[in-house]
Symmetry: D2
Subunit: 306 residues, 4 copies
């Protein structure tokens, strides 16, 4: 257990939809800040709760530290004050994570999204991860959101560690991308007293997550289909489950296509069809082949989105 | 794809809750049919849609073929005619599965629950599994329900195979115990025209499964907490999601305890606390230690069930 | 630990090569005992230490209990007395495994090869497996050989359980098909005093296994290339490592082709090219496509075997 | 396939033992270059082929880029000219990997050890990885050594990619830490014409790797037991297999203890017992508990090393 004294939960309301912004690159592979701002202008009309930068969809492992911070600054300046900015600040070491978290707070982030360190996964016990997050939360000037994404890290933040960290006053919630809905329900159930907030990490299980008590979602697909995702969120909040189900089911295949199936290259390609700048990924992420692009397009059209 | 001509869906309505019955053994390890019938009498007052025998909770891999059939016969005779009897008839080879399926139909089963063969998992491609199930469905006098349970078999029936098999007129649905709610939604979404029925394979994701369109559940926990699970089903059917959520969350820990955490020995122990006969498991399943039993009990009491 | 009193190791010398016999089926899918005996006659000239029946290559999960026993009887009668007969007697329950082991001893098996039960893998802790094997070893009239084959069972017999069981006087050794050469070395190292015998479970790591102290191998490839495998064994025994390496390397691709890559259908097809009866597998194992057959053949010819 | 024209293999002979140097930190967590040089002075008397810096044992994911380069410079200056310096230069993106590789060459590295990028593992197909390495090899002024370490990265560089890259004139070999001895043999077998060099990535399978044709090893344990590992290497080279086996077996448990079991904290603790500076790890790697330290010590003493 953590020895931190309980305190009032920071008044950070995470309820709603957050796109984890894709990072636009120029054909030469440089971060294209103008394109980023252009996308943000287009997103401005949608009722997003806020934006995540440097999530997995942002190719953050491919960005230099100064690029990571510059993206945060630019997005902060481009956003209205009522939109939250969550910045992914996770690094492998505790010290680097703290340093990055502090820098991102200075650059304007409202909260830090901290992915589990994973390289020495054999040593990343629940205890080690709990200590890591507690130290980051202690040092962070902004609330911390835990981030568990087994498809990328190969490990899941253990439930026991989540429950212990939920008691820390500077830990606001979790983005859980694992898709284990039983686990999400358990997190909700066991942290009710703490007001810990659960965000679904993918549009694939957004309705199911609301059904068990999640408050929102950080969904790659929101880069593409932001309006329907905000609509799904409203239907869930209003208890209109039959309509919510119909909408959720139509989003499943496009979501799978821009995540598991074709990854960020697929996400960026689809963004272009919906009026956003997508552009290339940094290598070793490879562009889609024409056949893959066709399959991606078919996924959107078969579900009535194109 | 399958070459079977489309036909009218068999009129087998799977909507509702099914306990996968535990198999009572005497202290000497023999099947105790009297205890089985005693449990069924106690279950008679609950609004279950029916019962599964020889599911994973029934220790079917530990039963001889004649025991498997005798259990089916006994349960059939003990059940009112309006309760469905689903019998697990899966074996490793196609020929043995067909033989067992036919025998179970003769013994009174209404439908056959057919687990994926798994020993040669490296060779169990979607194509091989699709062919297996198609041959079984062709030969079976009763409708077939697919059964995917990766925690036990180490493989998942691939989505593509499920979708192809959903078109077969003698395949009624699937019991999916994997807990991947995105996949469950995809199955519902892609088989709507066929009237294919999806059953959640665990109480851990029952509400979430209803939320995406499942029609029922085969839940080990129903051996213990049948009434609350039938209540949860009614709340879902009636669209009372807030109440459903509260109930679902209270069931998560007991469900985990009698499945993942303590397995069938835990399930049987908990049955005893609720007035059913539990008794021993066959080896190598081992009885709970006193400490485990205490932890199991705490799980039920902390959630208000004891 | 086990309470069995230490005693003299049974005088069962497992040193050498054992083919895990493929089970011949007629085109109609019946066990073809005449073909089985024909293959044995062809194998008679090779210096095998003995034969395994009902190993994974024997499609044992697809055989009825009476077929399993009849195969043992037939092979026993066909073998010269100086060749060992190891019979796979593992079932899911302890009681069925004991019953099958006793029956196989009566049918003429010299030792029982007992695969880890695996369906309830979440409950198959080292302790549970240790107790299972100890009970089987106690009840068995013939020595027991442990059998760990994670590619099929999805679990590995834990090292600690192996070391504990190595002290049992009726446990003669282990067939380890996992291919973790560090683990094999550890088993050799930690059981030296007990005279526990380690058999490599595949030709892919036969030389490496000898290098760390194994005494032999049970190799599917021996159904096809028995002579070179016996030659490899002799080179290893005589310390002619450079020649052994050259031979081992030429066997790697054919071995992978008849195991991981194309499984038993590949094994049986290759047997036919070398003068043995292969024939069909039971479903759901599917025959090779012409393209797969071509690839299989190329694997043998490119390494100078065809 | 790669379009690079074949050329003469660079004259970089990797045959022998390389310790992947642990990175000493002061109690405050700063890189302690004096301690690093002290350890190198102690290693000078051992017949190592060279040293690896920024391998997994070097906590490279916890070092800032400038620290990574400074370590390379310091080690280069401290080494006699006949000892090779391999520097781990892998980053997630191709562009960062190239930049780091070039910088490390400038800092004095003889070759670059390039770990597989892994965060987007779902997208890291053989094709994507092949392209990544080919671009790095093209741009690198020094030979590239592939580095596959599934225990940390959660992915294995596919065999087909290894074989294709083996044809590139600036790819000298592979450090394979996966321990799949069949795969190592296949790599040796299929790259014989190219003179591609295979290094075992752990002392646990060093003898077995030599047996199938590896030329050396990069072994964490060499930080602690360098002399016996060099002795094992000599015995293998001279074909004294029986002695080699005896030595290999005594190294298995200490090796497992400083890798899988206790990781780098265990490695550094053991270094202290043998006269080297170990010191703390950076968080989130945690120091051993007294009980763990005792178990570690027992592992060394039971095998005659303490």
């Amino acid at each position: 257990g953590l020895s931190t004294p309980p305190g009032p939960r920071p008044a950070l309301d995470l309820a709603g939809i957050f796109p984890p912004l894709a990072t636009p690159f120029s054909p030469a592979g440089e971060v294209d800040y103008a394109r980023l701002e252009g996308n943000l202008r287009r997103y401005a009309s949608l009722p997003f709760r806020g934006f995540v930068v440097q999530g997995s969809s942002g190719e953050y492992p491919y960005l230099a530290p100064r690029e990571r911070l510059e993206v945060v600054s630019r997005v902060r300046r481009a956003l209205p004050g009522d939109r939250l900015l969550l910045a992914g600040s996770g690094c492998e070491s505790t010290r680097a994570t703290i340093e990055m978290t502090v820098s991102m707070a200075q650059a304007g982030a409202d909260a830090a999204l901290v992915v589990t360190p994973c390289y020495y996964r054999g040593a990343m016990s629940g205890t080690a991860l709990e200590r890591h997050y507690a130290e980051v939360a202690e040092a962070s000037p902004i609330p911390v959101v835990l981030y568990s994404v087994p498809a990328n890290t190969g490990l899941e933040l253990p439930l026991e560690a989540v429950l212990a960290l939920a008691q820390h006053p500077n830990v606001a919630g979790i983005k859980d991308s694992g898709g284990d809905i039983t686990r999400l329900g358990l997190i909700v159930h066991k942290t009710r007293r703490e007001g810990f907030q659960v965000l679904a990490g993918s549009a694939g299980f957004l309705l199911a997550s609301y059904a068990v008590g999640a408050v929102g979602g950080v969904c790659a697909l929101a880069n593409v289909l932001g309006a329907p995702l905000c609509q799904l969120e409203r239907l869930c909040r209003e208890g209109r489950w039959q309509e919510a189900r119909d909408l959720q089911l139509r989003l499943l295949e496009p979501n799978a296509a821009v995540t598991r199936r074709f990854g960020i290259p697929g996400l960026k390609k689809a963004m272009e069809w919906f009026g956003y700048y997508g552009g290339p990924c940094r290598a070793p992420l490879a562009p889609l082949s024409p056949a893959q692009e066709e399959e991606l397009r078919e996924t959107f059209s078969a579900n009535g989105w194109l």
